[in-house]
């Protein structure tokens, strides 16, 4: 797992704590991982060639299709289109989720007023409200933005709120004992203490934001990577269809890794004593 290597890295930078996992085994894990990747690709390549190309593509074919789509500029245009929806929707979800989460976590009345709604909406498969979203916002960009937002906001909000609720009462006591104002307690104790939880929420939100993006591209105005999937699916060009799918996968992995690294960076103390 990537988290293992991250922990290894964090520990190595810190001279007071003994390195529990010396360099050699970490390298060995990477080697095993590499072998596994090569093996899977090789099997896929060999097996994929035996199957009707209508149903399955194989890696070299996909690379070929990707090259063609990159050269024509089609992939980049679709990618940027998708990124626009995803990035803006996700940033809005983070801002709103963190702000609401802080209020809900800190103030019991806000919590009581909203928890039923938050729980109900979080439990609803929000993809189901897509037709309603189209009625409200039409088929354009705002509808896509809303779908990404509504899917990504709840993990951020719920994790932020639970982060605020989980701030150790001893730390709040420190603020009170040193005569901190409510604002100082919020800014200097609650916010930094809840930050790791927020980052976890943000990381979980990324996956849902990408789902929202693809759903929006399928069911509202068709564009972006989702549009490419539909287009090449309809044309039975399976190899070309795999290209945007792999792009989505790559986006998810890259974003999640960045968020995970960021989590370690903002709260190194959380990751020192776990296994």
């Amino acid at each position: 797992m990537t988290s293992n290597t991250l922990i290894g890295g964090a520990v190595a930078a810190d001279d007071l704590i003994e390195d529990l996992e010396p360099g050699a085994p970490v390298k060995r894990y990477w080697l095993v991982r590499l072998v596994s990747i090569v093996a899977v690709l090789a099997i896929w390549e060999v097996a994929g060639r035996q199957v009707n190309p209508l149903f399955m593509a194989y890696p070299s074919d996909i690379v070929h299709a990707a090259y063609r789509m990159i050269a024509s500029g089609e992939l980049l245009a679709a990618f940027l289109d998708s990124m626009k929806t995803l990035t803006l929707g996700f940033i809005l979800a983070c801002v709103a989720g963190v702000a609401l989460g802080l209020l809900i976590g800190r103030y019991r009345y806000v919590d009581a007023a909203t928890d039923w709604l938050v729980n109900a909406l979080y439990a609803t498969p929000l993809v189901a409200i897509t037709p309603l979203v189209i009625l409200w916002f039409g088929l354009g960009f705002p509808a896509k933005l809303f779908i990404v937002f509504i899917l990504a906001v709840f993990p951020v909000l719920i994790n932020t709120a639970s982060g605020v609720r989980n701030v150790a009462s001893q730390l709040i006591d420190v603020g009170t004992a040193f005569a901190a104002t409510e604002r100082q307690i919020f800014g200097k104790i609650i916010l930094p203490a809840a930050l790791p939880f927020m980052m976890t929420g943000i990381r979980l939100g990324i996956g849902r934001a990408i789902i929202g993006m693809v759903v929006a591209e399928f069911f509202t105005a068709i564009n972006g990577l989702g549009a490419l999937i539909i287009k090449y699916g309809n044309q039975f060009e399976t190899a070309a269809m795999f290209v945007p799918i792999l792009c989505l996968m790559l986006m998810g992995v890259v974003y999640t890794t960045i968020a995970l690294r960021f989590e370690h960076w903002v709260a190194p103390w959380r990751f020192t004593d776990d296994e």
């Binding site: 810190d14 007071l16 006591d173 420190v174 009170t176 005569a179 930094p192 930050l195």
Partner: protein, 280 residues
Amino acid sequence: MNQIVLKEDVMNANPAQKVKLAVSGICKTFRIRNANGQQSSFLPVLRDVGFDVYENEVVSLIGESGCGKTTLLRTIQGLIRHDSGTIKVDGQEVKSAGRDRGFVFQQPSLLPWRTARENVEFGLELQGMAAGERAERARKLLALVGLGHAAEQFPHQLSGGMQQRIGLARALAIDPTILLMDEPFSALDAQTREVLQKELLRIQAQTRKTILFVTHDLDEAIYLSHRIIVLAAKPGRVKEVITLPFAGERPELPVMRGDPEFQAIRAHIWDLIRSAPANS
């Protein structure tokens, strides 16, 4: 409140002694809600507690567990509101937390995202002191508690004893009139505890701070204090105030334990705590 003087005391011989902390008539009752949330019962924790702490004095509050000693200390700090009675620091009545009282917690309670130095700066930062000035002050205090080398370390990189030293430096940083310490060494191992007890005496001698110290450890109380306030439990009230004869230069705790006078005082306090009625 009856006061026995076991030996002529150097501290109290001075008539010009200033009262730093005056506690009088403190009462506190907790309401305990039952599981069903309907009925509730009342638990009196403190009843008419009163005592004075003089300038440069170290006073320990001791008593069996549940006697309200920690509640009393937290009340003085303003972390808990009392039902009646007054708390005066330097003659001024106080009702909430303030810069005149520094608090050292039982758990170090450091902010994990701050370095040792930034933790010590915490109180100063709240007061709006300029960054350069407070960093300099924090470094001096870290040096005072013997952690000058660890200023830029994070709490999770430091041992429990070191963390508690930072907690002490943080409380001293705001230059309080009186230092309130809530069983600060109880979570540490025996060796570290003895080292820190000695350190506290050195720091107290250097800074001339007035200290009110809560502990359940008899040896610690006798070793550190000029006076010991023994609390009776249920509800907590002052049972006896004992003035100790060991003011001034003290031998190390293991040596002191062999002193017959030390043993006599220890036995006396032990009797006081044990004879407390263990009813209700």
